[in-house]
Symmetry: C2
Subunit: 329 residues, 2 copies
């Protein structure tokens, strides 16, 4: 994955302090998984261990900057807490989607059932706050609880709008903010709060950077659901359509194609029908427009990187922003 490559690019750009931090994060997450005293939290442990891109912890570390004490426990806890919240939402999402595979491994719900998976998600949420609380920084807990509240509100918003024919772009963007961007924003804010360097004075600015790349990330994820290819996403094209989730490509395509404007999403019942709708959306030019908006957000994010930061840190942040787009290009 391009994001994997971009971690290395970040390191090359002057982030030689990053690899030991990422390694320490893995150790910390593994310890958290093992530290429940018995085999009960096995599923939570597996979810954490199964990895993923660790994009949010990477953002925490890069924002904190090279002057953060390497492997300092509070910085690590902040990064681990963000990843735990992310993992918790994935576990609950898989319960609700009845998903069998995640990151190429069986999901908790597939391995252990809905009840175990719901409790595992709750455990990961709770561990996230326990982890961050150990830092003794109420400002950090506020940042994470705000993001975690937003995540749940985003899910509620998505469900409220399911199969709706009149979702406005603004409402879609709000949902993406809540579901995705706020946790990226939180990652960057936590990095700034933990920084011993100039990032420390740039909490809001760096939060805005995170928010924009998070938004771009979600927009591109939604484009990918329509464009495929399936081998990239691990699921067939049009999964969102089958769920009744209205995303930007469809919203934009409806403005361009009267047949799509009249489409009742509830009539899209089979994967083949969903793929046909994907083709219509693609034919309307909506995917290019959605991608263009995402790239614009990334450009804005890069423009917003505070000038007060050292050059190496600024270029590492730019690479993180580019990594979001590269993942989908």
């Amino acid at each position: 994955m391009a994001v994997g490559a971009s971690v290395e690019a970040v390191v090359e750009a002057g982030g030689s302090h990053i690899p030991p931090l990422m390694a320490a994060l893995e150790q910390r997450l593994a310890a958290l998984a093992a530290g429940h005293g018995d085999a009960l939290a096995r599923h939570g442990g597996e979810t954490i261990a199964a990895g993923g891109k660790r994009l949010r912890p990477l953002a925490v570390f890069v924002v904190a900057g090279p002057t953060a004490p390497a492997g300092g426990p509070s910085l690590l806890r902040a990064a681990a807490a963000v990843e735990l919240v992310h993992s918790a939402t994935l576990v609950h999402d898989d319960v609700l989607d009845g998903a069998d595979l995640r990151r190429g491994r069986p999901t908790v719900v597939a391995a252990a059932g809905r009840r175990m998976a719901t409790a595992t998600g709750d455990l990961l949420f709770s561990r996230a706050f326990a982890e961050l609380a150990a830092n003794g920084r109420p400002d950090e807990v506020r940042v994470l609880s705000g993001a975690s509240t937003a995540l749940a509100r985003g899910e509620l918003l998505q469900r409220a709008d399911v199969f709706a024919s009149d979702v406005a772009v603004e409402r879609y963007i709000l949902r993406c903010e809540l579901k995705t961007a706020r946790l990226f924003e939180a990652a960057c804010r936590l990095g700034a709060l933990e920084s011993r360097g100039p990032a420390r004075g740039q909490v809001a600015e760096l939060g805005g950077f995170g928010r924009r790349i998070g938004l771009a990330f979600q927009l591109l994820d939604d484009v990918l659901d329509v464009s495929g290819p399936a081998q990239r996403t691990g699921k067939r094209r049009g999964a969102d359509l089958l769920d009744g989730t209205v995303t930007l490509p469809l919203i934009l395509a409806r403005e361009r194609d009267p047949a799509l404007a009249d489409l009742d999403l509830r009539s899209v019942a089979t994967p083949a029908q969903a793929e046909a709708v994907c083709d219509s959306i693609a034919a309307s030019g909506a995917l290019e427009e959605a991608r263009r908006r995402a790239v614009e957000l990334v450009v804005e994010a890069k423009d917003d990187i505070p000038a007060a930061l050292p050059a190496a840190q600024r270029s590492a942040l730019r690479l993180i922003a580019d990594g979001v787009v590269e993942r989908y290009s």
Copy 2:
């Protein structure tokens, strides 16, 4: 419900500061429910508004004592946070049990589906930490996140032991500690941390008091599932048996009745079969033994009330402890 009556008894025992606090709590919970900016968190709001006994916030207030500033925002936030965590677990429990009614109202899962209900539970969890984080007290966040982690671990433990024939009393007690007692303990600890009176120096002791009454509460709840009557619990006797949840009455009865010792819980498939097993458990004398252990815990809890507290506060705490037993007598 007897617990409702015991609130009044607590007030009479010298807790004249309690009613305005309980009223302020309701206002705060209602504001939290309404404060999501739109109708999306409706279900979370309904869950909170549907009320319940508010036993945990009551414990927070009584432990904090009359010298806590009445309606002080930080004390209220602590009490609200505990109730929000409790509500979150109820919502998730209802999703997993597929329960239709809770406190006489349709559950979130019945009204809005599993997806909405799971997100609503996540929202309530997140709001709990957001609420408590506003106090700026890392020690308080640690107490709540520890309890919330324990809750999820308790649920995992329960699922790991489902239909098991060899659950030891110690393991059952551990599960009750995690699932129930730790949140009561957290309520009492938070009350002590918020206290401006002598309770402030008795955090561990008052936590122990909470833990014991929480444990007694769960033991008696499990007795009630076997003893009925159904009109009291709102569900048929033996619901735990049908779920495969092994509780103290069955564990004790198995030591007394060889037929029960040999019983494969998976063979208990109908409500009528479950009621027959309940009758066997009752006939073994296990219910009296389980009740006796619960009452013993309550006696120990009362003995543990610190002598340093004012007499009126001590007697209010004794009434809370008695309220747990009265609810089931």
